[in-house]
């Protein structure tokens, strides 16, 4: 493994220098200072907390990381196009290395329609008044825990997608976030769709060195206005040395639609809170998760479908396959507020274990305070069925071919829900490459 670069650390001097170098609206600097105070005040999460008791971060040393260094244009040459963009005609794209924007494009037509897409820290300087009501104000709580506070204080780069009222963006937009060896990524994603707007954003992350250490401490905010439609795909494909901490939250307003697909393949350890709040009557959210873990990876995803308004629908399906000594923890909750009558909530998590040493923890939960709802959940965990393998082998397949086909079939249910072909293909091929030879 590549040695982690020793950086200056997240200390007061480094923060002061970071803040002084930024040309930002005063309200944003004030928010950063408040979050920094909270970061200093809060302890690291304890394994006594239910949320952290299955996720061991004792080997994580925050002092080995610091504020991202300046990106060099030469790093753009090392950057690949990304998995999700292949074969897709995009309306715009951004590339960043270690939270530093390197490239940003948006079609003239979308620009003329008032769409904003690019690096958040650049656009917030120009559109501060527009973004102030949304940025770390409505969705993600900047003071939720130490990682949220660190992110809120120190984020840089990031991505903004703003679609004005009634504008329909047909071509997908693409965002690629990269990490250098030993690098730090603190990008913030903010998506704001005004009433009746629609858009598709394909976001993905990768490491320039697939085995190097790194840190991602990020946040995603998806604000879907009334009758708007957002399709958001987030493929986490960091290298195997990366610590990944993230708070992600969507607010879905009246009669709006959100389809949120996550692909989780990378990182050494991932601890993610994914929260969908249905805040307007008739809001609908579909959440799809595709996870594959290997080696000693630990992937911990905590989902919350929060029904705050009546007549809303949420449908979550997470599927994970595990091999080697890896572990996946999924802890999901459907929470229904007292006034959220006629809620239709569903959550399901399936795990397929490819060898004895891997471990999956599925913890579904319901917290219902309304009395006229339909909420269901389920979880399954199993190994590859020997009888299925035997059947495949009687049809002339090798054991390895059979395992690959069974794994592909396992993911088919969630794959069928993803309407974007490039995403289906990228996830399918990436998983197929990872499956070991089980001869």
């Amino acid at each position: 493994m590549t040695e982690t670069a020793v950086q200056t650390g997240f200390n007061q001097d480094a923060f002061d220098a970071f803040l002084a170098a930024r040309d930002e609206p005063a309200w944003l600097s004030d928010l950063r200072r408040a979050a920094w105070e909270k970061f200093l005040e809060l302890p690291m999460p304890s394994r006594q907390d239910e949320e952290w008791m299955r996720t061991d971060i004792r080997l994580f040393r925050l002092d080995r990381f610091g504020f991202p260094a300046e990106a060099e244009a030469s790093q753009l040459d090392q950057a690949e196009e990304g998995l999700l963009r292949q074969g897709v005609e995009v309306g715009g794209h951004t590339v960043a290395v270690d939270s530093r924007p390197l490239a940003s494009e948006l079609s003239d037509r979308l620009r003329e329609q008032g769409v904003l897409f690019g690096a958040l820290d650049e656009l917030v300087r120009e559109h501060g008044d527009l973004l102030r009501p949304h940025l770390l104000a409505r969705a993600v709580d900047p003071f939720q825990d130490k990682f949220a506070a660190l992110h809120a204080a120190c984020w840089s780069g990031g991505t903004l997608l703003y679609v004005p009222r009634g504008v329909e963006v047909e071509e997908p937009l693409h965002q690629l976030s990269l990490l250098s060896a030993g690098g730090v990524e603190l990008g913030h994603t903010l998506v704001v769709l005004e009433e009746g707007a629609s858009a598709t954003l394909l976001a993905e992350s990768a490491s320039l060195d697939p085995e190097a250490a790194g840190l991602h401490c990020g946040a995603i905010e998806l604000l879907v206005g009334p009758r708007a439609t957002l399709r958001y795909v987030n493929l986490q494909n960091w290298g195997t040395g990366v610590w990944h901490f993230a708070h992600q939250k969507a607010l879905v307003d009246q009669d709006a639609n959100l389809q949120w697909t996550i692909g989780v393949l990378g990182s050494r350890l991932a601890k993610v809170n994914q929260h969908v709040a249905l805040v307007g009557t008739g809001a609908r959210a579909q959440v799809n998760g595709v996870m594959f873990s290997e080696g000693r990876q630990h992937l911990s995803y905590h989902t919350l479908q929060h029904h705050e308004a009546p007549h809303c629908t949420s449908d979550l399906l997470y599927k994970g396959a595990l091999q080697d000594d890896s572990r996946i923890v999924w802890r999901g909750m459907i929470k229904v507020d007292p006034g959220a009558q006629k809620t239709d909530g569903y959550q399901r998590n399936d795990s397929l274990i490819l060898n004895r040493e891997a471990r999956a923890d599925s913890i579904p939960g319901l917290e219902i305070e309304a009395d006229d709802v339909r909420c269901t959940h389920g979880a399954t965990t199993g190994r590859v069925d020997d009888e299925q393998i035997f059947y495949c082998r009687t049809r002339g397949m090798t054991r390895n071919e059979a395992v690959r086909m069974i794994v592909a079939g396992f993911f088919q249910q969630v794959s069928d829900r993803i309407p974007i072909e490039s995403v289906r293909v990228a996830l399918g091929e990436a998983i197929a490459r990872r499956i070991r030879e089980y001869e």
Binding site: M53, D56, D361
Partner: protein
């Protein structure tokens, strides 16, 4: 198989006693009982609890979360709720130094 790696001085681990150490990016617990040294993953196979924080009685360590017990000599699970052994590692002592070789 990996090499033996130095993890602690003999004097750092009382008898009886235990010490949590970092070895090749993993946390393992080294036990010292009746003059012998043993090493286990710092993982309860029930729900991943930190065995190193548990109570040691003779050659048995109890997980601090739910009380599952393991034999420190072999890693074998002795009581519910654990049903699977936790991984044990080879230990050797040379002079004042304790070495551990991680199992694959």
């Amino acid at each position: 198989m990996s090499d033996f790696l130095p993890v602690a001085a003999v004097s750092e681990i009382p008898d009886p006693g235990k010490l949590l150490v970092e070895c090749q990016d993993q946390l393992v617990v080294v036990f010292h009982v009746d003059g012998q040294f043993y090493c286990l993953d710092d993982v309860c196979t029930h729900d991943g609890g930190p065995l190193g924080e548990g109570e040691l009685k003779g050659c048995v360590i109890a997980c601090p979360r739910h009380g599952a017990k393991f034999d420190i000599r072999t890693g074998a699970a002795l009581t519910m709720p654990a049903t699977q052994a936790t991984r044990s590692h080879e230990v050797k002592v040379e002079g004042e130094q304790v070495y551990v070789r991680l199992s694959s």
